[in-house]
Every structure is written in structure tokens, then in C-alpha cells.
């Protein structure tokens, strides 16, 4: 220890906040563990604890164990997808300085899904790797298109203009998706799974190829935290403080697009996670992206796991896709955000 420079007021405030955030971090990690346990234990079929333990270890001797063994990759996929969407939402809100940004609302997931469906229907795509790259391409094109349309006209990219451009794009893309699939009974997954996202039917074989892309997306997003803090002050102030504005925006957006594309390629389009989660996290830990981004990932994982569990329980003996559950949860939050003063001003 070097001696005695008493921390000044700012350093003290930083320390105080760091402690509070560390507390929240522990809670969120516990909640994630709890959600994962619930997701393995609960479902359309009731199973006993012994079957759960055996199933988690990979046992498939009884039906109950087999059911549990299927729930494990499903839980992992829900966690990964939720984390990816929560993080992508937080990054998009930062990049566009728009509280309504969300991979679903901005039409990015719908664009990714449409690209995959076009690839399957018109180009006979079958391999998951091909799905992934196609989805990312579709997500990127949708993002670019929505941003270009939302920026047109007076006043640049205001939150509501972007949200409207995104919603219109999302509807157009998903209608087009349906139009492609409807006459084709042979297409993998059928109409519904490319219209409403879900994590049912997850397998390790489907999850593994996505991991490198997801990892790259996570890294690109997380390292943009500081730049996003500066971008929040406006482009000019950010540049004045030494941020490379265009570069920071582009790399963060690329990270988010990769996360959305990879997620949509396996799960189909899932909306609202990216909208709800960052707003909740801001209430808990504030607007500093160095904390907000990892928290959004963790909270997104929790939310999607719980939403999936809910979807299995409410519609017994059948299941409700997690994309429907998140839409139910997300719509009221959307309205709450729009009603807040700041968005109406913009």
C-alpha cells in the first residue's frame, strides 16, 4: 500500500456505487442459478428429483430422465439467447441513443429470419452454419435499412421514427416470410418457428456451431462499453473527448447484429427481451455501460429462461413458444417507456 492519499469525493462515490453494484451482481447470479434449476425441474411433465439428477448427468433410462436430459440444452440455449438479446438491446439503445431500440422492434430479428427462410426455400440451404451466416447477413441488412429509413427527413434518427421504420420492416419481413413458407410444406421448421421464436427442441448439435459467433458478438459488444458512455453525450462531445465515433458505432452495431443473427438462426425471432432487460437494469445499476452491458446479458438470460418455463406451464399439456411469452411481457414495458417524458420530447 502506498500511503495516504485520501480518496476524493468522486472516488468515494465510485467506491460506494461499486459496492452496491457488486451486491446486485451476486443477486443476479443467484437468480440465474435459480432460474436454471427451475427450467430443468419444471415442464409439461412432472418429474421427481432423482430423475432430475440422473437426467442432468445425461441418463436416459426412464422417460422422466430423458425429459430432463432434453431440458438441459434447452435451458442453456435459453440462457445464451436471452443473454445475446439482452446485450444486443442494450448496445442498440446506446448506439442509436434510442430508448426504444430492440432487435425485435427494429426489425432485425425479422430480417434475419426472412434471410434464413429465403436461403432454405430458394437456395436449398440445409446446414446450420449456412443458416448462421445468412441470418447475420439478413440482420445486418435489416439494421442498415431501418437506420437509413429512420434517419431520412428532418431531425435525423429520432426514437419514434426509428421505431416506426423498424416496426414496418418487421411486419413486412415476417409477412414475406410467411408468404414464402405457406405454399411449401417441405420447409424445415414450418411457418411457425420462423414467425415466433422458441427454444423448444434445442440440441447440443444446434448450439455448438453458434458459440464462436456468439462469443465474437459478446466480445465486440462488451468492449464498446466505454465508447457507448461517451456517445450518450452526443456525437460532438464524444469526439471531443477522444472517442472515434463512427468506428465505435460500427463495431458495436456489428457485435449486436452478430448476436441477433446467431440467436435468430437457432431460435427464430424473439422480441422484447432486448427492450425490457436494459431498462430494468438501468433502474437497478444506472446508465454506466461498463456495468449495464454485462448486467443486461445476465438479466436477459434469466428473463428468457423464466419466460420459457412460464410458456411450458401455462399452456399444459401443450407449450407456448417463448417468443409469445416475451411479447406479452414486453408490450406493457414498451408502453411505459413511450409514456415517459423524454421519448415524447424527442
Amino acid at each position: 500500500m502506498t500511503a495516504a492519499i485520501a480518496p476524493g469525493p468522486t472516488a468515494q462515490a465510485i467506491l460506494r456505487r461499486r459496492r452496491a453494484r457488486a451486491g446486485w451482481l451476486v443477486l443476479v447470479l443467484l437468480a440465474l442459478a435459480g432460474a436454471a434449476v427451475l427450467s430443468v425441474a419444471l415442464g409439461t411433465r412432472d418429474v421427481g428429483w432423482s430423475a432430475i439428477l440422473a437426467g442432468v448427468r445425461g441418463g436416459t433410462d426412464t422417460i422422466a430422465e430423458a425429459v430432463v436430459a432434453v431440458r438441459v440444452p434447452r435451458t442453456v440455449l435459453a440462457a445464451l439467447a436471452g443473454a445475446a438479446l439482452g446485450l444486443a438491446g442494450a448496445v442498440m439503445q446506446g448506439v442509436t441513443r434510442n430508448p426504444l431500440a430492440d432487435p425485435g422492434i427494429l426489425g432485425i430479428n425479422a430480417g434475419a429470419a426472412m434471410a434464413v427462410v429465403i436461403g432454405i426455400a430458394w437456395f436449398g440451404m440445409v446446414r446450420l452454419e449456412a443458416f448462421l451466416w445468412t441470418a447475420i447477413l439478413g440482420a445486418g441488412l435489416a439494421a442498415g435499412f431501418v437506420y437509413a429509413v429512420g434517419t431520412m427527413g428532418r431531425g435525423g434518427a429520432t426514437p419514434l421514427k426509428l421505431a416506426l421504420a423498424g416496426a414496418a420492416t418487421a411486419i413486412a419481413a415476417s409477412s414475406f416470410t410467411v408468404a414464402i413458407i405457406l405454399p411449401r410444406n417441405d420447409i424445415a421448421g414450418g411457418v411457425r418457428s420462423w414467425q415466433v421464436g422458441g427454444v423448444g427442441g434445442a440440441t447440443w448439435e444446434a448450439i455448438l456451431p453458434c458459440l464462436p459467433l456468439l462469443a465474437a458478438g459478446f466480445v465486440l459488444c462488451l468492449i464498446s462499453a466505454r465508447s457507448l458512455n461517451l456517445l450518450a453525450l452526443g456525437d460532438e462531445a464524444a469526439a471531443g473527448l477522444g472517442a472515434r465515433v463512427a468506428w465505435a458505432r460500427a463495431s458495436a452495431a456489428l457485435g449486436a447484429v452478430m448476436l441477433c443473427g446467431a440467436t435468430t438462426a437457432i431460435c427464430g425471432p424473439i422480441g422484447f427481451v432486448g427492450l425490457v432487460v436494459p431498462h430494468l437494469c438501468r433502474l437497478l445499476i444506472g446508465v454506466d455501460h461498463r456495468w449495464l452491458l454485462p448486467f443486461s446479458a445476465l438479466a436477459g438470460a434469466i428473463l428468457l429462461i423464466l419466460a420459457d418455463v412460464l410458456g411450458r406451464i401455462v399452456a399444459r399439456p401443450s407449450e407456448m413458444d417463448v417468443g409469445i411469452v416475451t411479447a406479452f411481457l414486453g408490450a406493457p414495458v414498451f408502453i411505459w417507456i413511450v409514456r415517459k417524458r423524454r421519448v415524447r420530447d424527442l
Binding site: 476524493g8 468522486t10 461517451l230 452526443g234 471531443g240 473527448l241
Partner: protein
């Protein structure tokens, strides 16, 4: 002492050229005020000087080196900028905002240092914002918010400070307070200051060097006595005026002549 200069500067937006061949050297260690009518290109000039806008032709140099050869952080350690309309994000405190001024001094991984802490404390003190440090930015008046932004620029501790209309939103006493503060900064640390001001009389009183812009060009520059004349006001603002010595400072003082409200002798 760092020297910032522009030569044959031409810049604009899209295919609209705003600045047309402008030469300008910022007097080092002095306070320069830029005045001119709305839309004449003052902010555009400041943006070029701060490298926010790439010139179409000509060059801006800092210490004889082209501006675009500096790294982003390196430049931000030498040259600070307060934009005309910065965005105050929701949910951050005054101290948070001011701490952002330390960004160019921090490495990619380095933590908050005691030096950062001192710089922020000094900036808060100098702007009289120390008591409001833990307040949310959204809970400030326009003038307090402006001072918070100035504090952020101060915490950056650059040799050159560019300020675009730092006194907008401020009542007259806070305008004077901010300008006094900038003079203090200039005297105590030798900071070179360039600011856009709309109030000609305050500009003449506080600036060592006055620059009048007209349609993307510099129409007059020099000491306030040389620049602030009835002829300049007529040319740059299209306004008839009376310029007399300011009894408090001895600097020129401009009194506008309108169509109404004049005494009869003056109106003739």
C-alpha cells in the same frame, strides 16, 4: 504553447460549402471570441478546428502537424471542445458528467487515478458546482447544466479549449461568472481559449482577440478596439449602431439602433 491554425480552409455539409477559403491562427495563450450572424459558419469553423468535420480543402494544424495525424485520445488531451448543444443523458450525476472529461487521460484498462480525482474536484470547484456534484443532471436548471458541461471541459485539462456559445441559457450574472472563470483559467494555466459569443459587448470586454465572421469568411480580426466598430456591425449584422467606450472597461461598447425606442436626436 500550442498553436492551432487553419489555412485556406474550405468546409461544409454535403454539397453545401459553408467556409470558403478561411485563414485563421488562434493566438496562443490568449482569449479569442468569434462573433457573427446566425448561420455564418461559426460552429462550422469550431468543428473543423476540433476535427469533428473534415475540411473539403485546406488544412488545420496543431503545432505545425496536420490535425488528422493525431490519435483520437492524443488530440483530446490537447484540445477540448464544448459543443453548442450537447446532450445530457438521463440518470447521470454532475460528478459522472465531469468525470467523462478524464476519458482521454485514461488508458484502455487503467482505473480511476488520484490525479483524475483531483482534476474533477478542481473543475467542480472552479465552476461552483461542488455542492451539486451528486445531483442528477436532469434535476438542474439550464444555467447549472451549462456550468456542469464547462466543468467537464475543464476536467479534460487541455491546453486549448474551444467553446461554442458557452453562455447561452445563462442569466447575465452567470454569463459574467462563466466568462470570469474562463479568464481565470487563461491567466492561471495559460489555457488558450476560443469561444463563440453572441453578445458583442461581453466579447469585446473579455476577449484579447476578436474575430468577426461573415458568410463563411473572416471579415475582421484583431483587438476589440480595432474590430468592434460601427462599420463592422453594419457589414456583419446589417445593423446600424453606436459604438462608444464602455465606461467600466474602456473597451468598445455597441448600442444597437432600431426603428423604435430611440431618442429623437439619435434617430436623426
Amino acid at each position: 504553447m500550442t498553436i492551432l491554425s487553419a489555412a485556406a480552409l474550405q468546409a461544409g455539409y454535403g454539397d453545401r460549402t459553408i467556409l470558403r477559403g478561411l485563414d485563421f491562427t488562434v493566438p496562443p495563450g490568449r482569449i479569442t471570441a468569434i462573433v457573427g450572424a446566425n448561420a455564418c459558419g461559426k460552429s462550422t469553423l469550431l468543428r473543423c478546428l476540433a476535427r469533428l468535420l473534415r475540411p473539403e480543402a485546406g488544412e488545420v494544424q496543431l503545432d505545425g502537424r496536420a490535425l488528422n495525424r493525431f490519435g483520437a485520445r492524443d488530440l483530446a488531451r490537447r484540445l477540448g471542445l464544448l459543443p453548442q448543444s450537447p446532450i445530457a443523458p438521463d440518470g447521470i450525476t454532475v460528478a459522472d458528467l465531469v468525470s467523462h472529461g478524464r476519458h482521454p487521460h485514461q488508458g484502455l484498462l487503467s482505473r480511476w487515478s488520484p490525479e483524475d480525482d483531483r482534476a474533477v474536484a478542481r473543475a467542480l470547484e472552479a465552476t461552483g458546482m461542488a455542492d451539486l456534484a451528486e445531483r442528477d443532471i436532469d434535476a438542474l436548471s439550464g444555467g447549472q447544466r451549462q456550468r456542469a458541461w464547462i466543468a467537464m471541459a475543464l476536467a479534460q485539462e487541455t491546453g486549448i479549449l474551444l467553446l461554442d456559445e458557452p453562455t447561452t441559457f445563462l442569466d447575465i450574472s452567470h454569463q459574467v461568472e462563466v466568462l470570469d472563470l474562463l479568464v481565470d483559467l487563461n491567466r492561471s494555466r495559460g489555457t488558450t481559449i476560443v469561444m463563440v459569443l453572441h453578445d458583442l459587448n461581453l466579447a469585446a470586454r473579455y476577449a484579447d482577440h476578436l474575430v468577426a465572421m461573415l458568410d463563411g469568411r473572416i471579415s475582421a480580426s484583431g483587438s476589440p478596439e480595432a474590430v468592434l466598430t460601427e462599420a463592422m456591425v453594419e457589414e456583419v449584422f446589417g445593423l446600424k449602431s453606436l459604438v462608444i467606450p464602455d465606461p467600466t472597461s474602456g473597451k468598445p461598447m455597441m448600442l444597437p439602433l432600431g426603428r423604435h425606442g430611440m431618442r429623437r436626436e439619435v434617430a436623426e
